[in-house]
Symmetry: C2
Subunit: 197 residues, 2 copies
């Protein structure tokens, strides 16, 4: 039962993702900060709903699996605000790689390899699956910030060009969703929720 002991240890360890808080808010719950576990659930389901907009051939089951694990590394590395400066992102990438090693290696070796490779593929955002997964991870905060009349954009004085640059993957992976984001960014600028670039 060595494998089972390791698997249960991993399952209990990742419970900690429920205490990693993001910049986005949960509107329906007194605007408390959203945590990375519930965020991961939301985007895994959103990817399934929006699968039909992917223009390249994707395997939605792999996309969902990527999205379920993509933030686990934050248990050790923390969540970095999307619009932080480039230097911070470099340091964060190092922390995340170490975290992936520590966390996934709690699992039996075959599962460790599978999970780590899937996470690395997501991070690289080159394969069609990873590209679509990352696009969905990035479009959801747009939806939530629009619904919250500015949300974390207002709080951090985010510029329209930053949101567009962050969602540029969509242009290639799902052009119809990209058109939607572009429209929403224009509305947000008009409403004063994003700073005009």
């Amino acid at each position: 039962m060595q494998d089972l002991a390791q698997q249960f240890e991993f399952i209990l360890e990742i419970d900690k993702l429920k205490a990693i808080y993001r910049q986005t808010s949960v509107q329906c719950d007194n605007s408390r900060a959203e945590n990375s576990a519930e965020h991961s659930w939301h985007i895994a389901l959103a990817a399934q709903i929006l699968e039909g907009y992917a223009v390249e051939k994707i395997n939605i089951d792999r996309v969902i699996k990527m999205l379920l694990i993509h933030d686990i590394i934050e248990i050790d590395a923390g969540d970095l605000f999307a619009f932080s400066v480039a230097n911070e992102h470099k340091l964060q990438a190092k922390k995340e790689l170490a975290a992936a090693h520590r966390l996934f290696s709690l699992l039996p070796n075959v599962q460790y390899q599978e999970m780590k490779n899937l996470w690395l593929e997501f991070e690289d955002a080159i394969s069609a699956d990873a590209c679509f997964a990352k696009s969905i991870d990035r479009i959801l905060p747009v939806l939530l910030n629009i619904a919250a009349q500015g949300g974390s954009w207002l709080k951090h004085q985010v510029r329209a060009e930053q949101v567009l640059a962050r969602n540029i993957l969509l242009q290639k992976s799902a052009p119809k969703l990209w058109a939607y984001v572009s429209d929403q960014v224009a509305i947000a600028v008009k409403n004063g929720w994003l700073i005009r670039s």
Copy 2:
């Protein structure tokens, strides 16, 4: 873009699952109540990790999809404590069916049918996929309550036989996991975390 508008409406509506609180606690976060969105993430990933213990042939991708949507109906119907009396469970089942109709029908018709059928299959717990999915949904609170030295069992004076009855599906779907649950229940009784039957 009628479909896209409906899909985004659904995606925003299910955000409310983040405000549905369960009886189990999140230990790593000052023992606050766990919500059904983060719970759904946790069990979807747990199912993937524990896939190898299923004795019947299952399609893990369908299992994951079931687990991602299985609690959405709580947005309208609320979460009922697992060990409530039978009468309450009957009333709850009616509320949940109405909730499934309202929530999934926000989606375009094809997706509505798919989601509702998948949810009904999970509820019936007859197919191998649904049986394994439901087993995982029930084993995770055992893990969490053991880690919390009794947790919601202690709070609600739960009896050992109730936990065993609730996990009986495991006996058929994943006997090795059933053996683990039986052992853990015995330990919990010994430690005073569950009432001896």
